[in-house]
Symmetry: C2
Subunit: 353 residues, 2 copies
């Protein structure tokens, strides 16, 4: 009898495994589609077709890509959507901006229906601080996301945690609903998939992600446009700054790659601290390194630290938290207010206070 | 009556267009499959299953990936294949090397049947110089390639010019033949697709390429393994060398990014000229640049030039040819024998002679 029990256990664990490997499209249920379609009809009839699409503050490629992918899809379904984010669209992602919709200051009174996209937490839009009503029962909240931290805070939730990106979910959603997708929509969604997978490289890139990419390229989406805008656009002062940083690179006996950047290092080249973006990932490309740290003085007299690791057993979030910072296990950061860098044998932070 | 003619013309041009957009799998005809299967039976019966797989000298990721993809497939079909290249397998691609097959010095007498893979020209293996018999009628030549320059030099040709890579062709070939593909085979073929598309970015990345990637990942292929080995593995001396190069970067009034590297620049860091690999692509990431040139002294007293462009209307192959070099429209190079670099206002080549 014992063996029967064990078999049942094994069977149930296999079933669970299969469940967690369900394709993105399988997780978009007919019930969900029906509810969303009903909602869309309601928005058309009762609310002049008005729907607000919000994404998280400090938007990345998936935030912008999925938001515009939703915008173009809702538009082709006959709605009048608005895209909004508390921060502006970063230059690298501006090429998908349709220029006829984006606002940092929506009039929330205009909208009964709000989509939260790529928001692992309902507070990530940061609009709720001054506009708590967006999270109240007065609003109907559609929640489309792929973060495991998402607690289904919406009234209609589509949270698929094994999707590479929110954009991948939006793609399979529109496909299932028969939405006509043009090349602009395809490129928006590709932007989300491409950036959240680190260019189809990170472990979250599933066969579904590649299949979505295949079909989006077929629809006229352009990955080369994305990569040129997002990853491959550097200018001379930036490359010279990277050169300066790389020349000063140091690996400690413990295997940490460390580099410090003075304010003058970038100011003397006519560059800004933002021009350092990306160099930490290049530094962290050394296989023998445990983790990488870039310390850089900002223009306001603080020292910012960026940490990266590729090692499974190193948690840079924990390191950053010791200094009052935070982030992810593989990428984190902290700030030392009113600090400056002094070079001794290694770079270290000296606090003014 | 004229309109009928015009219609016929339009129709034929449409047909032609459809032809040129045929999927890779459509271009692998039943006739080809029959001929190859017949050949495989013949090799088993008449030649102890022995087949030699050659790829081009100075092998890139597609050369190695497609060769090992063929090797593993032929093996599962019951043959005894050997992989050979006149140059050794570069370190970055060694992770797909099965270690039980590769040779730089095959005994050509052992092989009646030779596969040439990823060879845009029959002479690109460079074995023919000392072993002209490999191109003679004594050998049965199977030619699998994706370069438009390929003139169908084989006895059995599979040249599909809209495939991203030779590896993509091999994938669809094995799929069509029902070959069982394991994760090692899948990773080999992904290596070819990934490197020849610049990480799924270049214009040659078609929906077929993404579909192949989706299915190869499903079979256990690992893109993150590839990217870690191929693109994201740098060491300290290499990054410091890149830093030195980037600091010296110069953009001419005509929009050419130019940099020169002295022998001492790398020797003083304990690095080699090979450690410069990749930096030219970083340099060429500047959107405003027409083309990029890196001049570097090698250890034998020559100056090598690497040229890159991302502009549609710039042909760096033509520039390289003026100096006796060659390559592709977007990536080319040339060598100035017995030269060295002298820095004046710009970098230029001074010939000793």
């Amino acid at each position: 009898m014992t063996s029967v029990k064990i078999n049942a256990k094994i069977k149930s664990s296999i079933n669970q495994k299969i469940m967690s490997h369900q394709s993105v499209t399988q997780q978009i249920t007919p019930k969900y589609i029906d509810s969303l379609q009903e909602k869309i009809s309601d928005i058309k009839e009762q609310h002049d077709g008005k729907i607000l699409i919000l994404t998280h503050a400090n938007p990345d490629g998936d935030a912008i890509g999925s938001a515009y992918g939703l915008y173009l899809g809702f538009k082709s379904l006959g709605l009048t959507p608005t895209v909004s984010c508390i921060d502006e669209v970063p230059t690298a992602f501006k090429f998908v901006d349709t220029k006829d919709t984006f606002t940092q200051t929506p009039n929330f009174n205009d909208f009964k229906n709000i989509v939260f996209v790529d928001c692992g937490d309902k507070k990530l839009t940061r609009f709720d601080k001054n506009h708590p009503e967006i999270l109240s029962d007065q609003k109907f909240k559609i929640n489309i996301d792929h973060h495991p931290s998402n607690d289904n805070f919406g009234d209609l939730n589509l949270v698929i945690t094994n999707a590479s990106s929110a954009a991948e979910i939006v793609y399979y959603l529109w496909k299932k609903m028969g939405v006509e997708m043009n090349s602009a929509l395809a490129t928006s969604l590709l932007l989300g998939i491409y950036t959240d997978t680190g260019g189809f490289v990170h472990q979250n890139t599933t066969p579904d992600s590649y299949t979505a990419a295949a079909e989006l390229v077929e629809l006229g989406g352009s990955v080369s446009k994305i990569s040129q805008n997002v990853f491959r656009s550097n200018d001379l002062k930036q490359l010279k700054l990277w050169g300066k940083v790389l020349e000063e690179l140091h690996v400690t006996d413990e295997g940490a790659a460390i580099v410090g950047v003075h304010k003058d290092d970038y100011l003397s080249l006519g560059a800004t601290r933002q021009d350092l973006g990306g160099v930490i990932d290049l530094i962290n490309s050394m296989p023998e390194v445990q983790y990488s740290v870039m310390l850089s003085e900002d223009e306001k007299g603080n020292v910012k630290a960026s940490l990266r690791t590729r090692k499974d057993d190193v948690n840079v979030k924990a390191i950053a938290e010791k200094f009052g910072g935070g982030g992810h296990v593989k990428a984190a950061g902290f700030t030392v207010p009113q600090g400056h860098l002094k070079k001794e044998v290694k770079w270290k932070i000296v606090t003014d206070a």
